[in-house]
Amino acid sequence: MAKAHWTERLQRFDRRWLFLVMGLAIIVPLIFPLGLPIKPGPMTKAAYNAVEELQPGDVALISLDLDPASTPELEPFYRAVVLQLKRKHVKIVVTTTWYQAPPLVERWIREAIEQPLAPTYPGYDGAPDGAYKKNVDYVYLGFREGREATILRMGADLRQTFDGRADDGTPFDKIPMMTGIKQLKDFKLLVDVSAGYPGAKEYVQYVQSRYGLHMIVSTTAVSLTDLTPYYQTGQLDGLVGGLAAAAQYEKLVGVTGTATAGADVLNAGHGVVILAIVLGNLVFFAGRRARKRGAA
């Protein structure tokens, strides 16, 4: 039997070698980082500026709509924005609409909101933040199932949605920072950290347009292109999409976190995929030409 053309052999070779190359592309830059500079883009800057406009004593809502899988892209933004809010002495209300999130959200609150964040960033020389006290500086509302129905309920009557009390059972009437907070529009800013459905799109569709909310969104890279039209129309005040944008946000806040470390790896990862596309097409077209010549 005639030996297959080299292009056919290449197209059929074991894909596990490609997995190995990808694995190395991820591990090697983590051990030997390139350290390329990170330059913030316009949508990320707009999100940062929206938070910078808040004044001490303002109340912001952070909706953590995510699962453990999306933490590499979203947790760095969350930490950076919490540091930014805390050093501006903005009060924080936290909630989630994803059932996979509550234990993760509670840990993130303990680590980032109840403790000073600044010391956890090596080399940070900006304004420090403090430890926020539960039901004084921050409130955790908890989780309610219902997806867009829950978002709609929060938009119309936040207190009724959560039975008039925080997740630990404290009535809202006994929490001074919740005075005057009855609906989503009573928050000066809504920060949605969104991994998919329900999330940013549902907030925009069901409450942002209806109540004219100020919203910034941090989302996974996969969802970014779906949300850019909302940013362009002004329905979103800022949009941070993916690990690279989270690294940009870290730079704006003045910290070096896991997104900055991860953005370095993206260089190699993207390079491998681009190389795979180019090589795959070269092999394909070379094979097609060889087949045409053979047929002729």
Partner: protein, 307 residues
């Protein structure tokens, strides 16, 4: 009747949900909130039914020793463990009191005029935060309890375990000058969704498995890029060309190559991407409105199943 009655219910609820947007009366708002609450209850119960279904589907497979039956046992046992961890067992044996406070005179103590002393008697594996002072472990390296000299008056004290699943002690003590307040706390382990075991299983089984399942996609995307993405025509070439530009522009290497590349990537997002997305959004919106109207008017019955 078997299909008509549910359909009539659907039409009534659907028409109401559509009309409530235009009626600013508080009764209507109250009813809308209530109906949305019922919707969330049904959505939550659907997940619980999923758990019931797990047993319904897998128990016969285990009994009949079908293929991979041993793994089904792992699955059912794991579900049972998580369910058991999610029950609030601590309510059966815990009093609910997080800690006790004893006040004594500070005879010959180091407290200056107007100051009081707070001593925290707690295990070494808990953290303490008194007033505005930074949090610290409840015992030092030598095992001595943490002691704080504070201004007399109201002092917030928090004793907590930095690992999730324990009852915090969080109170505001009123201490008079030259007094010692000894706070004895041993944060009790909790069960239930805020409990130790539940959170341990979430952090060390659910979270890593959830994350790694999705991480597999990074490897498959490279394989797909080599084997499947072919520039067979103009459209495919445009797609892959835009993808390559955006991939380079999004990573830091794009700015290192050229700022113009980054600007081009942003322009692709702002103009062609948004033009196409907006068209898809509008088309999908019209489709969603049409389908929703069909459901609300009772013309769409496929979700009710066959007779």
């Amino acid at each position: 009747m078997k299909k008509t009655a549910p359909l009539v219910l659907g039409i009534a609820v659907g028409l109401y949900a559509c009309a409530e947007f235009y009626i600013p009366d508080w009764h209507v708002r109250w009813l809308t909130q209530e109906l949305q609450t019922w919707g969330t209850i049904l959505a939550a119960f659907a997940y619980i039914l999923g758990g019931v279904n797990l047993i319904q589907v897998n128990y016969p497979k285990i009994r009949r020793r079908e293929r991979d039956w041993q793994y089904k046992i792992v699955m059912v046992v794991a579900a049972g463990m998580m369910l058991a961890a999610g029950l609030k067992w601590h309510k059966l044996y815990q009093s609910g009191e997080a800690g006790t406070v004893a006040i004594a005179d500070d005879h010959g103590g180091a407290a200056a005029a107007g100051k009081a002393t707070i001593v925290i008697d707690a295990p070494a594996d808990v953290m303490v935060k008194v007033g505005a002072l930074p949090a610290q472990p409840a015992r030092d390296a030598a095992g001595k309890p943490a002691t704080f000299v504070v201004d007399a008056g109201k002092v917030p004290v928090r004793v907590y375990n930095r690992i999730a699943g324990y009852r915090d002690y969080d109170a505001t003590l009123e201490v008079a000058p030259a007094k010692i307040a000894t706070v004895s706390v041993d944060p009790a382990m909790l069960w239930g969704t805020k409990g130790r075991v539940y959170n341990w299983l979430y952090d060390h089984v659910f979270a890593p498995c959830n994350a790694t399942m999705f991480a597999l996609l990074a490897f498959f995307v490279v394989s797909a890029a080599f084997r499947a993405f072919r520039m067979r025509n103009v459209e495919a070439t445009l797609l892959l060309g835009a993808a390559i530009i955006v991939m380079l522009a999004a990573a830091p290497i794009g700015a290192w190559i050229s700022d113009d590349l980054v600007d081009l990537g942003q322009w692709i997002l702002d103009i062609p991407n948004n033009a196409g997305r907006r068209a898809i959004m509008m088309g999908a919106a019209i489709g969603a409105i049409a389908t929703s109207l069909r459901i609300v008017l009772g013309l769409e019955r496929s979700h009710l199943g066959a007779d």
